[in-house]
Amino acid sequence: MKFIFTALLGVCYFFSCNICIAQNMNSAKPRENSFFHDNIEYQARLQLSVGGASPRSIPAQIREIESFKPTHILGLEMNATKWINQKNNMGIRVGLKYEGRGMKTRARVKNYYTQIEDDSGAQTKGYFTGHVVTEMGNYYFTIPILFVWNVSKQWNIYGGFYASTIANKSFSGYISEGMFREGSPIGEPTPFEGDSQGLYDFSNEINSFQWGNQLGAELKTKSNFRAFFDVTMANNPLFNKNFESISFKMYNIFGNIGVAYHF
């Protein structure tokens, strides 16, 4: 919650600064060409994100995604679009976003390499066949830098890059209902039956920096509201380079929809 408040404050601050700057420009030098006044528009956005951290292609270890639930779906953004050509239909948009990136999944796995561990530092790595529940709940501060093109009166499309820094990280879960084999697929077997679980928590292994691509479209309405949808795909893995407790690399891949209020 603390992070949400911080983020809201951040977004408000960003928002009010822009207004202040705009107003100051207005009052001080009316009608003069001002970078923050002419050919520029401001937007506040509320987004809902659905997606997750996923390998680029699902490895054979994962046999079935049994359930998927989006979590931490809210995001807030303020952005500014500066039109750069005379027709005012192409522009550069820069924003600041506070966004949740979460999911809860349950998968059936076969020979899934993982590590169960505890707070005393004891760790056991091995191969698990059974069910894995994963809960991810991260919050990022994200700066999108996008090219915007008004393709028609109703639509614009936008695409570009984003860079994120993590505000709150959480990646944990458990293995259950299966067989854990210590060290290798023929190692000492530990059956997990009934309520018994092997816990893992890889929160501290999450990379604090993310960057990736974003591509989307915006539908204008007669009012100041707009609807949008876009896709963000990370180019660097969710976990740090040295992280080996999951044998495949995972990337944040999300679809986002929402409404924008245009000033």
């Binding site: 680029r56 530990t190 039956e193």
Partner: protein, 358 residues
């Protein structure tokens, strides 16, 4: 057109998760069950991740035996089931998984030896990738005989890279040579979450097979016994209780000093499940005679102390030396270890455990 493209991008996450690759070959290469004619056996075959032991009656001809094995799905075994071999010495059977990169060599042992009546714990070896010790004795044919089992295999999952001497059951310095050293240790936060925050060191005649659902069902006490009713159990020990006794919620139990336990139970033999689970609490109806160290002898001592405590018949039971029985000798560094209560650091060192007869 571009708009259509962005639609495609939007569904990429869904597309990705639907691309499940073909299943890879099975890697399990386990012996799940082992069979010889039931009348040969004195107790169920003892199967571990790499060994099978048949404890057989003294009149069985081990030079010509053809055990059969149930193995993992899609695995193969070499030699094939029903192959007659001479089991005077330990033989090897190799189980190969469906994925042939994974195979396991099992030692297959036929053991005709009667239970020993004296144990000095002078033979111990590192096992399971050298992570912990297990004790053995030398059988009449030179085979290693693993009468004693401990909870160490269950500790592997939470031990991380702890050295063998930090496992609950390890070797200590004995009166002559080695002794058995049992110590109560912290398990892990996730074991604690399920009510098993501590593990007492234990050592017992019997076998161990992990059961996480009910840890007390992992320990199977008892091995086949024939002969007279022993008069008593004699042993030498040192004991140091840990500073704070904690219960299964890991809360400190005030004003309690930890203590250890050593006991022996002779109980009636049966064909199936011929053992006592760790939660027997001395109440099993099969029990015939029990010897347990009395409270007054459970003392903290840093020098060797001799104890000798008698077998007492369970009321209403008689002992018939011509019948088959099962003997369990159990030692633990925390007397309430079976209830996951004990003091981390409690250490029991035991040597020269002997059954005393008239």
């Amino acid at each position: 057109m571009l708009i259509k493209k962005s639609y495609i991008l939007f569904i990429i996450p869904i597309l990705l998760s639907s691309c499940i690759k073909p299943e890879e070959l099975d890697t399990d290469a386990d012996i799940l069950d082992a069979y010889i004619p039931a009348e040969y056996l004195t107790t169920d075959p003892i199967i571990t991740n790499t060994s099978v032991e048949f404890r057989v009656k003294s009149n069985v001809d081990v030079t010509k035996q053809a055990p059969t094995f149930t193995i993992s799905k899609n695995a193969t075994i070499d030699p094939i089931n029903g192959t007659i071999r001479d089991y005077t010495q330990t033989q090897i059977s190799t189980v190969t998984a469906q994925d042939p990169r994974w195979k396991k060599a099992y030692t297959i042992t036929f053991n005709k030896d009667e239970l020993s009546t004296i144990y000095s714990f002078n033979h111990a070896e590192l096992t399971d990738k050298d992570r912990y010790y297990r004790f053995y004795t030398i059988g009449t044919t030179g085979n290693k005989v693993y009468d004693w089992a401990s909870g160490n295999p269950g500790y592997v999952t939470v031990a991380g890279d702890k050295p063998p001497n930090d496992y609950p059951t390890t070797v200590g310095e004995g009166i002559n040579g080695q002794a058995a050293k049992l110590q109560t240790v912290y398990t892990s936060s996730f074991a604690a979450a399920t009510g098993n925050p501590i593990a007492a060191g234990n050592l017992f005649l019997g076998s161990f097979k992990i059961n996480l659902l009910n840890t007390l069902k992992s320990t199977k006490f008892g091995l086949p016994y024939t002969g007279d009713l022993p008069k008593s159990v004699r042993a030498y020990y040192k004991y140091k209780p840990g500073p704070e006794v904690r219960n299964q919620d890991f809360k400190v139990v005030p004003n309690v000093v930890d203590s250890f336990d050593i006991y022996a139970i002779l109980f009636e033999s049966r064909s199936k499940d011929n053992f006592l689970y760790g939660d027997h609490d001395f109440k099993d109806p099969r029990n015939v005679a029990i010897a347990r160290i009395p409270a007054k002898d459970r003392l903290a001592t840093d020098t060797w102390r001799e104890i000798n405590f008698p077998f007492e018949l369970v009321p209403g039971k008689t002992f018939d030396p011509t019948k088959e029985y099962v003997l369990a000798i159990v030692m633990t560094s925390s007397i309430d270890g079976a209830r996951f209560t004990g003091a981390i650091g409690s250490t029991l060192i035991v040597d020269n455990v002997e059954l005393i007869y008239n």
